[in-house]
Symmetry: C2
Subunit: 323 residues, 2 copies
């Protein structure tokens, strides 16, 4: 299976590493908008300018798109789905139906197969929502995120005047989790489900009281939550908050006959959000390769993929060792 | 979707109830080895003697087999896979490959579609083993069961002389779970993962010391575990231990680049083991119905079924609401 990567940020590097963990795959090229000569990568793949990508159509089985969901993927995935089998981790939930339509049309035009939104949310969390809803049709869904770094919230703090750098952790409220697990079917406000912890580095002489106030009262981002602000040094931020951990919980509680309660819980605890997402992308790239060989075209999501396609074991072996 | 049930024990009653929770399904007949006139059921379905089942081939879309794995299903599933689309919850892990071959051959002969081993283990736990192994190829798997009633262990106690009744709970060891969740990659003995609690009712005048000794030293069943025995009255057993709860944990821990740890955990907490298994059977019956309409035949497992087939929502709705 010959894989190409488009975009060499955290996600692209994660995919590169993940491919090394999967002997049935080979990374053949990394496509970049930068000057290829300036890009040092961690494998023997070719580094190729994005302008030359069309010449690689016969040399790549699946192109993994590692750009961002805000501006890269809405353009890139439909564009390259005409030339390659592609997969992305598009995570703007509200825009997924539109993105799907665009990619589906493009892939069908190119007679290629595409898969969007492969990651953990959307992705593995979505799968667990589906399985749990199918099995317990009368019930209630809960998704908690964290403990982990929210890029969007960290960015929002950095935009405040006087802030040099910041990291924001989203943290699920333990009592809320327990109430759900006890089948109490609680209805939560945002504040009751998650708290927010901010580690902030300020410019010399900046007004900390004003900054803390601006953070805590920021609409949508922080106002609806109990937010704690810690002012720390740049050194401490880099030393203790340099990682990109994340995770969360998908729980569905439901009833069967005679008011019997059932709790289905799925959780992730990830040291590196982008590296884990990369691993999901690589597994689903395998599925796309196999299903394209079976003649499938158009756009798919994780809901459309039979689990056996994402793992490099035979059906017999799977039944014998994992069923 | 017209459903038939074969066997009206805990599982069959659970399927009957679950069908009521799924408006796209209708229970049309319950087939029984008992005298149909003696069997009271909780729905308007016909109660039919098993001998007449062949006459129902055109009236049933999927037959759900609710017998036991020890002696019923190895015979019934291949037998009825020649006449109906069938699904079972066969749970003898070691014999799954053989059962699969038998059912696959029969279903192909009858041009029907079958699915075996749909429950939670095998079933949902198996799915989670597969997904987690595909995504974290370098890692370690752990399955913990409980807290729940083990039918096999309860039966083993009941066979001891002087024992009138007994219930056995399998309980995961909390410290072991924590060690796994902390990515310590422990290697466990059986004793370190689970403890066993036995609630035993004895005949009048029975030698409790001898019975306790016989339980605790029973090879395979109890000797490899820390086992606690409580002698209680029949009343207390019925009052406090009358349910059939179960559940467990499937955890995979694995690494990506730079020694980063990731933990994928799936858990179930079930008030009723058979009713939950029934709900899984019913969801997968939907998939079998749909895939048979697409012309598929032979035997499948949960690994072969794209998730979207088990839920009664359109692809568009799933992408919009669950992805």
């Amino acid at each position: 299976m010959r894989i190409g990567i488009l975009g060499y940020g955290n996600l692209g590097r994660g995919v590169e590493y993940s491919i090394k963990q999967n002997p049935d795959m080979e990374l053949v090229a990394v496509f970049t908008r930068r000057n290829p000569a300036d890009l040092k990568i961690n494998s023997n793949a070719k580094v190729v300018a994005i302008e030359e990508i069309e010449q690689w159509q016969d040399k790549i089985d699946v192109l993994i798109l590692c750009g961002g969901s805000a501006t890269d993927l809405p353009v890139q995935t439909p564009k390259y789905a005409k030339m390659f089998n592609v997969i992305d981790s598009y995570d703007n939930h509200k825009q997924i139906p539109t993105h799907f339509e665009n990619v589906d049309e493009a892939a069908k035009e190119g007679n290629k197969l595409a898969l969007i939104s492969a990651g953990w949310d959307p992705g593995l969390f979505s799968l667990n929502r589906l399985y749990a809803n199918a099995i317990l049709p009368e019930g209630k869904d809960y998704t908690f995120w964290g403990k982990g770094i929210s890029q969007g919230h960290s960015d929002a703090i950095r935009r405040i005047e006087g802030v040099k750098n910041a990291k924001q952790y989203t943290i699920p409220v333990e009592e809320a989790l327990q109430s759900v697990r006890n089948s109490e079917n609680p209805t939560f406000t945002a504040r009751q489900m998650h708290t927010r912890e901010c580690f902030v580095v300020v410019d010399e002489g900046a007004d900390k009281a004003r900054i803390e106030q601006e953070i805590k009262t920021m609409p949508n981002y922080f106002e609806p939550y109990d937010t704690t602000v810690y002012f720390i040094t740049e050194e401490e931020l880099n030393e203790k908050h340099g990682g990109i951990p994340h995770g969360g919980f998908v729980i569905r509680t439901g009833k069967t006959a005679g008011d019997k309660n059932h709790v289905i819980e799925y959780s992730l605890k990830l040291d590196s959000n982008p590296e884990f997402t990369s691993s999901v992308l690589v597994s689903y790239a395998r599925a796309i390769y196999r299903l394209s060989k079976e003649g499938q075209t158009g756009c798919k999501t994780v809901f459309d993929i039979a689990p056996k396609y994402i793992i490099s074991k035979s059906d017999e072996e799977l039944r014998k060792t994992m069923l």
